[in-house]
Symmetry: C2
Subunit: 195 residues, 2 copies
Amino acid sequence: MSAIDDLATELSKLPGIGRKTAMRLTYHLLKQSPEQSRRLAGALETLVARVRRCSVCNNLTEQDPCALCADPRRDQGILCVVEEASDIGAVERAGEFRGVYHVLGGRLSPLDGVGPEDLSVRALVERVSHGATREVILATNPSLEGEATALYVQRQLAPLVPLVSRIARGIPVGGDLEYADGVTIAQAISARREM
Amino acid sequence: MSAIDDLATELSKLPGIGRKTAMRLTYHLLKQSPEQSRRLAGALETLVARVRRCSVCNNLTEQDPCALCADPRRDQGILCVVEEASDIGAVERAGEFRGVYHVLGGRLSPLDGVGPEDLSVRALVERVSHGATREVILATNPSLEGEATALYVQRQLAPLVPLVSRIARGIPVGGDLEYADGVTIAQAISARREM
């Protein structure tokens, strides 16, 4: 039954999907109408055919420049730097930021062989060197690699931008001190603000 | 970004895949080579185009009759009745059974509106009525619906087949009495065998 095995093999290449889940999904699709499988196949084809990188901010988009860069209501003077295009969705859902973005396309990770030349840092430096940028917010993840990446980017941008800032680290809203790790609590204390 | 949302929507229709996982899978595919997405799309197209039901045993197959029914080394006199085509893989992996199969295509479930006419019971009765079947093993799941289905099928087949048997229920190999439920333990005791 090679068509079944073929699909299961392709599905099991996806992250978090093992062989058993892949077989379960395949049999699920066989029980559904053929239309559902065809729509999924079509959506995949459309994805690879249409989605590309925005030439301004490196976001994933179907139009160039992307909808965020092209939006006249957004403040082009404030840049939020994120690791991945998927991080933009997270920031947008928060509804707090009205500037534009820059997607690095990863984080510095010497162990994985990812160096500065693998990230779109040069394009970012080029972008802010025109002088219209008032602030760059570094919103890389608060992980070891994310912090190293933020530090590297900050050093590149410091001579060019009036203000380079970093998102706050601390106890998540709704979180519990009892279950927070020591490093996070230390950050939350050192970054305390007067009430 | 409708191509991204479209794919995420299609993926989130799959069982066990929520909106967040669907987005993660979509972004993963965008980071891979376009070839991987195209192979996945191709495997889906091939699946719906090629896979059909075996006219003998109701298994999912690309050829009719299926490879199992067409295999001359398998004993056509012993039938193993399973709920779903995916169950055949589980029995085959055990390597214990050398007969042929019959796929019911589900289990009796009045609450879900699944009655006897929704399962391929009539085809099974037709199949065994030729008189060449020596034994039918009922390998529906040991759940409430699976047991009811086995009982129903047994009643239909009893006048036609010399032996209708049911797979054994008991403590799984490698399992632990302490964590087994009472019904299973009761089954394991009542089905005890002399050593």
